[in-house]
Symmetry: C2
Subunit: 222 residues, 2 copies
DNA sequence: CATGGCGCAGTGTGATCACAATTGGCACGC
DNA sequence: GCGTGCCAATTGTGATCACACTGCGCCATG
């Protein structure tokens, strides 16, 4: 039932229009990483296909790719859900963040200039607004963006890539974390991170990042 | 052309026979991680399908999954090859190993008992034999098995999973490394690792692992 | 009213097909 | 001899279909 888009013309000239499976992948990935889906949320290939206007084939490929990254879990019979992480798993993922992120921050420190810090400041303010307005998805999104903006300067794509898969796995859990302790104040350690950056203090930056990362996830113990 | 296997009966009683895409995934993954494929080696979906006796569909899913893990790279037009890593990339992956593996070793140390160390000793001897016989694949396989045997004791599946994707990305490159410097002696630091384990010396173990990991990949600079 | 069995709707899997894009080689012309 | 354009074979993509399995609800029975 190809109702939504005729899709008759080759590609309609200019736009390379990324492949369908890639559109689906990106869409789902963002929903998961930003905590739009609760842990254990069930998904079906036909449902995904319908919501993206494609058939099962691209949906299956996107799901396969995401489950390879740990963003989705598949039951023995192939049923797809967002992962429900055990406490041990959460703690382990937090420890990975605590291992990788200070390293990335340290590498970025040498390359950080004022414009970068200002940009992070702006993101941090957007984060504070999301807290005030009680918007979980915007909170998670700006929080990750704050960290990613810094880490991009580390020029270490492999490490950052690994870290993003960790964030991805934590996405649904982060949503629970947020809704459980309705926080009213923005993450306090972001200020310390910015101060350490301005001061060019490597040790302080590593500590601030490590604390920021560990802090949030500590409250998640069931 | 379903020639090889009739596949008429439901499942032939007992064997759950893992799904076709999973068989293909495992097969390819092992070939890549053990260095059976050189960097830049081209693969085709139809070719993979034929060599595993399946159609393109499971082959595509396996390829998608592997490329999500960085074990295969896909050109813009979808052509699939094993990755040809840049020097920067290799160095970065080595640094990730140097970050994760000492941590895993340290965690395993508390749980390591004599039987484990004996098993690692045996694997190390198999590794030495592979060196003498100039068998690259067996060398890589036993080398990884040596490390994995230790890290499994760390009881940290998330970290180990991340590390395995790093090993996977390095697979084809390891093959080049081996054939370039036809080594005639086994990795010297494995002995140090075993000694530190027997002594229960955490600092020495971390150093030995870090050195072992860094050592090998250092010689790969083009 | 509880419980066990049956059947149907829903779901993932894998094969196949049509199609567009890329690729590689070959011949032609400069 | 070398570059250039074209053609055919190859390749990935996505839709569709048949099929087997799972899970759940419904109904009959104790």
């Amino acid at each position: 039932m190809p109702d939504t888009l005729p899709r008759l013309l080759p590609v309609q000239s200019d736009a390379p229009v990324q492949a369908a499976h890639d559109r689906v992948y990106r869409g789902l990935r963002q929903q998961i990483m930003h905590g739009e889906l609760a842990p254990g949320h069930p998904l079906t290939l036909r449902g995904i296909g319908k919501s993206f206007g494609v058939s099962m084939t691209p949906a299956r490929e996107a799901v396969r790719r995401l489950s390879a990254e740990g963003a989705l879990s598949m039951s023995g019979s192939g049923r797809v859900t967002t992962p429900e992480l055990s406490n041990d798993r959460i703690e382990e993922l937090a420890q990975i963040r605590a291992l990788l992120e200070p390293e990335l921050g340290s590498r970025a420190l040498r390359r950080a200039h004022l414009a970068l810090i200002d940009r992070m400041d702006a993101i941090n303010e957007a984060n504070a607004r999301a807290v005030n307005r009680q918007e979980p998805v915007n909170y998670i999104r700006t929080n990750l963006e704050f960290h990613r903006t810094l880490y991009l300067r580390a020029q270490s794509p492999a490490i950052l890539g690994l870290l993003e898969t960790v964030w991805l796995q934590l996405g649904p859990t982060m949503r629970v974390l947020y809704t459980r302790l309705r926080r009213t104040t923005p993450p306090p350690h972001h200020r310390h991170i910015l101060e350490a950056l301005r001061a060019g203090d490597d040790a302080a930056l590593r500590l601030a990042i490590r604390t920021d990362v560990t802090q949030g996830l500590k409250h998640l113990q069931v």
